[in-house]
Subunit: 349 residues, 2 copies
DNA sequence: GTGAAAGCGCTAACAG
DNA sequence: CTGTTAGCGCTTTCAC
């Protein structure tokens, strides 16, 4: 509730320095409007009092917070443990820093994203993992807060950045098909309603699935509905999901996972079951998280420029913030690319 | 600098609903003071206008921001790419979330931590990686902001949390000595002046070095000054630093690294040079980051409860914030523990 | 149950 | 170059 030692206010400094509040304000914000010595004296007094302008009061009058919001349906703690988010945030942070903006993560507070959003003191928001029809998106829009959507469908009036999921997924499937695989299992990511760890992959999942399908169709390979299983986009999720498929009697020669974490989980489980990777089972991931190159065996995966995605989103938002409502929304689409490493090999049956 | 569509203010809602501003405020904050129907109507009008109480104005009157600051001398982008920080932040986030607090990262703005600190709207600060005599620490103290120091020396009047670095380091060295190693190279972390990637390890480095030394001394093993080389606490830093030692003609049978990242770098370089791990060279890390267990070979390292460190720091801060100045500072010391995996083996010479 | 009025601490015209 | 004077948008006693 309370507790802070009474902080000196601008009036205290003014009194002790024998000047007006304005003078003190100038000493901090426009020193050139004061004589050098007056300014210096004021700052000294301020320092001796331990005065620092109250940032909240200051932004109230300036009407800008100099901070960007990163909106996600994830718990805060997840953001740091999930490599995808960490990388994305790194990109956002980098762009924000360049322009002197700070970052504020907006995630569900007491379970409510709307509540967190209401509290957030930000000049704009980068929303990731929210579909365009998510209620919070409407809330932000109604409030007139600048926003850019990442990995969502387009929303008129707002910039967005997406990645070419479909093409990447298609390349992954084609790679496997080219290696002679015909019995392929797809490890999909759960939609948001299932409280998956990465609900942002909702629309993303569909796009990736479409890519896989396209390649399979083109090769005349049918995909039984039991060959698409969904689970959490985590290592544990990969283990559990693959296990479910195995338990159902599926014995694919290759796995197409929608996230690297799931792919790594599948590799782990496969080995526990005595399968050799890639000899007995080929595995392809998605995202190309840092770890992907360092696991054993190095993972074949679809690279998406996660960090850049964050940076681009932040720049778009910053542009919108400083240009005002006149800013024309842009839709940026970033490319994906298949990276072939050592977790895939020709089918052996 | 402007751009937001004019946001509706409380007065607009009041006018349209035909009530006073107070009523609108009550509708949001103390609905029980209004008739149910009035409250409902007001909220409806508010919603139709897209009104959301200005959070800045609100905290100005309430004099609390409900957000915690995490102060570090690192660039924001580093926080997400550095597993140590990510883990620490995860801990802080978890504790903050429990009490409905948000997190705000305070890192150098335009190169100035002091400036960033001045802008920050927070109720208190968790400072990590700042020595107690760091200027910003004085600034925070003077401003009367609650603060808890992590990995620093004690500062009267403030809670702190540290880890038992010395004991952990000593255990690591003893492990190696027990395996018959007598020619040990220490990969230290650079102090802050050297702009290392983890300046927070400054005092930490000294403590760890003391631990290593103690074990060596006890075993009667001398440590040439050329057997302690410092570098950045990153994989690349590990490679570079170990390379320097090798170039200087050092040929240890074991390496004691002050961070897992450095240890992994050393492993990588050693292999490139044709050394087998652990047969030809034993390597011990420090921190026990998630990755440590998953690299090849799994890394023997000193575990420190990083996540818990963050959580404890946040709880201490939260306690201080709500108890006020009467709160008695606590010093928490967390244990470290040697985790033996597969990167160490008996010396073969 | 509802409203008037006084701030919260600071900034920024506008005079002098 | 310095001071006076209004607010910024909201909360919150204190009357009605």
């Amino acid at each position: 509730m309370e507790g802070r030692a009474a902080r000196p206010r601008i009036a205290d400094v003014a009194r002790k320095a024998g000047v007006s509040k304005t003078a003190v304000s100038f000493a901090f914000n426009s020193p050139e409007r004061l004589s050098a010595e007056t300014a210096a004296r004021i700052r000294e007094v301020a320092e001796s009092l331990g005065y620092r302008p109250n940032p909240v009061a200051r932004m109230l009058t300036q009407r800008q917070t100099m901070t960007l919001g990163v909106l996600t349906p994830q718990a805060l703690a997840v953001i740091f443990s999930n490599p995808f988010f960490a990388l994305f945030s790194e990109g956002v942070a980098q762009a924000a820093e360049e322009l002197g903006y700070e970052l504020h993560f907006i995630s569900p507070l007491h379970g409510s994203l709307a509540m967190a959003m209401g509290r957030a003191m930000v000049d704009g928001v980068v929303a990731i993992g929210l579909s365009a029809d998510h209620p919070e998106v409407g809330q932000i829009e109604a409030a007139g807060l600048p926003m850019v959507l990442v990995d969502s469908d387009d929303l008129p009036g707002h910039s967005s950045v997406v990645v070419d999921d479909e093409t990447g997924a298609r390349a992954a499937a084609e790679h496997l098909i080219g290696l002679g695989h015909r019995d392929i299992l797809i490890l999909a990511v759960e939609g948001p309603q299932a409280a998956g760890i990465q609900p942002e992959h909702h629309g993303v999942s569909e796009r990736r699935l479409r890519g896989y399908q396209a390649a399979l169709d083109a090769a005349g390979i049918g995909l039984g509905s039991d060959h698409v299983v969904a689970g959490r986009a985590s290592l544990a999720g990969g283990v559990a999901t693959f296990e479910r498929a195995l338990a159902a009697g599926i014995r694919p020669t290759a796995v197409l996972a929608m996230s690297d974490a799931m792919a790594i989980g599948a590799v782990r489980l496969a080995r526990e079951r005595g399968l050799r990777i890639p000899d007995d089972l080929s595995v392809v991931g998605f995202d190309d998280v840092d770890l992907a190159a360092h696991v054993d065996p190095p993972l074949t995966t679809v690279h998406q420029p996660i960090r850049e995605k964050g940076a681009v989103a932040a720049r778009l938002l910053l542009a919108r913030i400083s240009a005002g409502a006149s800013h024309r929304p842009e839709r940026v689409r970033l490319a994906t690319e298949l990276v072939v490493r050592s977790s895939t090999a020709p089918a052996n049956r």
